[in-house]
Amino acid sequence: MNVTFTRRGFAQFLAAAPLIGAARAGQGWDETLADARGQTVYFNAWAGSPQINAYIAWAGEELRKRHGIALVHVKLADTAEAVRRVRDEVAAGKPGSADLIWINGENFRIMKAEKLLFGPFTEDLPNFALVDTGGKPTTLVDFAEPTEGMESPWGMAQLTFFADGAKLKTPPLSMAELLGLAQTMPGRISYPAPPDFHGTTFLKQALVETMADPSVLGTSAAKEDFLVASNPMFDFLDALHPHLWREGRQFPQSQAQVTQMVADGELLIGLTFNPNEPANLVATGALPASTIAWQNRAGSIGNTHFVAIPVNSTSKQAAQVTADFLLSPEAQARKADLAVWGDPAVLDLAKLNASDKALFKSADAPGAVSFPAPAIPEPHGSWVPLIEAAWLERYGA
């Protein structure tokens, strides 16, 4: 048998033996860069936004020029699709079809628990040192699940509401004020039905604002504790629902549908996880220039989104180089630009040199958040299925 050890052959060898691949995670960065050249990275990323897709295309072009990496955007409607694909492939002992996944929360928790991820690798990325891990603790703890180096932070998110300022002069800055507004303007407010991600987040926000001691949210919840803790939230929802769109008997299916209904004028208030999405939608002409955005006064649920490498990836080196590039000041600044995507950076600007810092221009565009508030960390993952099941039980049928 004639064995030639080409670079590609070695990559395939690594893929065939995930354990050896993991052991090689500690290789020097120069070595990683050398191995990465010529590899193809299949980046599995949600593709519902033309702006985000254009940004990923830009990153691919830069990676090709700088590192000889071919980045292919595998467009997903739902990240769970990639989780299931990797799980099935690993179970069948097949090489991976995904090399990098845009991920956080439940999907990450499942992949980490089922040992479907490669790593830890983030400490090896040169640009990881620039991440604001102190000021933004969610870059290390994803929905109360420690990342332990198995995913690399990419951007920041915080629950933000928006409306047409021409129709809504004073925005409700708390759940209690939202109830008051719903009573004066019945049928014009709603939220996406959980388990839609944004719908569940709306409920988490209501939980945080109504419960006596929100500090227990950081720990694992038992069903009995949850029932006691969530009582005030369900009292609030019982009071709110009769004043919602269609008397709270039907709900929009997704955040996207809510946004569309706000744009059409059917609903008054929309919600998003990207604080800059309203400004971005104004820039693309989807929302009017009179759009205003705000976060609830006492703080709103915030988190971080990441990229992770599946354990059966056949291009682990190039995937790491891609993750590192996405953390570079240049890539993060471009991502934060309202005209490009508007996704807040994960970096600590104080750690950057003057020329890198200058890349981050603070723009006050129409639709930008006018009432910012601190981020509240996500509750522990165990709360989510309990909230969703209780909601479904009460309002699902």
Partner: protein, 539 residues
């Protein structure tokens, strides 16, 4: 010796059909069958608070939509003798993808939609309960409208088979001489035979309506949604236990559909005597429902065209706030996005053309080498494969292809597209192909023409019209595939529907409308081409 040769030819002729279609499908079902024994999955399913209301909604929307579409199709067929008009309506309706129609129809009737803007106006949309109404009325209406063209196509194919048209006309004349009005004669002679021919197309329409996901997401109720939507979310969840619950629910839905169809068949058998009495009842002067037929056909056509027109407007409207009657600032960003990434379009076109050609070749080979009595099995299998919920078949197919290493490959993708296309070709082509007058071939053979040459020069040209129609249908079915294709593609390939669904995930309506139109145009061209090229030369 000759007999062995004949057997070998027959075996070889059936091989493509067996290997490319029947074997993979049976194996896929075998792969998914063990899910029936998953106790935890069944417990989760039965404990789901939306299971029974969701199942009821699925059966009710699918069932009522089927009955409405059937009633409309019967009135239209009875009242409009002009086949050409009906053919145009049927082709246009078939070409329009379900999702495209749902988006267009939805924007017509929703509270902030076009009807409300024209009729109500004001600052804020009216509090109408249209679109996503809790009873599934909008979904039922859209399904019924969308299935009328399919039933018309199936009915016209059945009436045109062999000498059926002439025989029926003679029988109707006989009824008229007994004093029956035209409508009464049609109802007592044509309708019973037509309904018998339509029983499988009706089953397909019912199963499709009760399991449809994309239309239900746009128009269907939400709390609870139809069971197919619950299943769709469960199968898409990252959690493996929830996936298995979705699979168990799929089996439950399949069983419920089989039970509903079985009950209907039993009910029909029990009422046979009653129906015979009705058919034999004395002469009635009932005339054909000409005006209602024209009205129904016009409404159906108007809805189809209206949906396309609205999609066109939505595709260039980044923002279209209530109560504006026209988009205030048109923009072509969505069309630019489609033009900027044309690869999925080319892949879909190439894939669907090859799939249509392969399906046609496999079926011609089957009909040329197999005795007609085996067609019962072929058609039975085709109908069964179409009547099974697509979600279940796709899940099994994915597991099978993954084990074979065929996911993420072009051959795997082709096979995933071929299965439904070949089923439709079998159903559409069987009648006309077997009705071919064998004397033409006998003449060709007596003139010393070889069999392949006679096939190419005489038989296939004479069968041009049904062959082209079958090709167009295979093309349209193939280019619309989403669920199985997306699973098999494993992120390595992106077809037009995949691109449409992923880009629409963000709720960008111009993009969704643009891709819906892009999905409607190729099949429309295919049907038009089939109609134009299929015209006989000597008429």
């Amino acid at each position: 010796m000759a007999r062995t040769l004949r057997r070998l030819t027959a075996a070889a002729g059936a091989l493509p059909t067996m290997v490319l279609w029947i074997a993979p499908l049976l194996l896929s079902l075998a792969v998914v069958a063990p899910a029936a024994l998953d106790r935890q999955a069944w417990q989760m399913s039965l404990g789901h608070p939306q299971l029974w209301p969701g199942l009821w909604l699925a059966l009710a929307t699918g069932g009522i939509a089927t009955l409405l579409a059937l009633a409309a199709a019967i009135v239209i067929l009875a009242g409009i003798p002009a086949q050409r008009l009906l053919r145009g309506l049927a082709a246009a309706g078939l070409a329009l993808p379900h999702l495209a129609f749902a988006i267009g129809f939805g924007f017509l009737i929703m509270p902030s939609g076009l009807v409300a803007r024209v009729m109500v106006g004001g600052d804020a949309p009216p509090a109408w309960n249209t679109v996503q109404d809790p009873w599934g009325i909008s979904l039922t209406a859209a399904l019924a409208l969308k299935e009328i063209p399919f039933l018309l196509t199936a009915a016209m194919a059945a009436l045109a088979r062999g000498d059926a048209a002439g025989r029926l006309a003679r029988e109707c004349r006989a009824a008229a001489s007994l004093g029956h009005g035209a409508g009464s004669a049609w109802m007592r002679i044509v309708l019973p035979q037509l309904l018998h021919e339509l029983r499988w197309p009706l089953a397909i329409v019912f199963v499709y309506g009760a399991t449809v996901v994309d239309m239900a997401l746009v128009l269907g109720p939400t709390q609870p949604p139809t069971l197919s939507v619950i299943i769709w979310h469960a199968l898409n969840d990252a959690d493996a236990a929830t996936n298995r619950m979705g699979l168990a629910m799929t089996l439950l839905l399949t069983l419920a559909l089989a039970a509903a169809l079985g009950c209907t068949a039993m009910l029909l058998a029990l009422t046979r005597g009653f129906r015979r009495d009705f058919l034999a009842a004395g002469p009635s002067l009932l005339d054909v429902p000409r005006h209602s037929a024209l009205l129904l056909a016009a409404v159906t056509m108007l809805m189809m065209c209206g949906a396309v027109l609205i999609l066109g407007l939505l595709s260039v409207a980044p923002r279209w706030p209530y109560p504006a009657l026209m988009p205030p600032e048109p923009g072509f960003a969505a069309w630019a996005a489609l033009a900027a990434a044309p690869a999925p379009l080319w892949l879909s076109l190439g894939l669907s053309l090859s799939v249509a050609a392969a399906a046609l070749a496999a079926m011609i080979l089957w009909f040329e080498t197999q005795p007609p009595r085996r067609d019962v099995w072929l058609i039975g299998f085709a109908l069964l494969s179409l009547a099974l919920p697509q979600l279940a078949v796709a899940a099994g197919q994915y597991r099978l292809f993954l084990a074979l290493g065929a996911t993420g490959t072009l051959p795997g993708l082709c096979l995933a597209h071929l299965a439904p296309a070949i089923a439709y070709v079998a159903i559409v082509l069987q009648g006309p192909y077997r009705a071919f007058d064998g004397r033409y071939m006998k003449v060709a053979h007596s003139l010393q023409t070889s069999h392949p040459a006679a096939l190419l020069l005489v038989k296939l040209p004479l069968l041009k019209a049904p062959l082209l129609t079958a090709t167009a249908i295979a093309f349209a079915v193939s280019i619309g595939q989403f669920v199985p294709a997306q699973l098999i593609a494993a992120g390595r390939y992106s077809t037009l529907p995949m691109e449409a669904v992923t880009l629409s995930a963000g709720g960008n309506r111009p993009l969704a409308a643009t891709f819906a139109l892009a999905l409607a145009i190729p099949p429309l061209i295919a049907f038009l081409a089939a109609a134009l090229l299929g015209r006989p030369r000597w008429r």
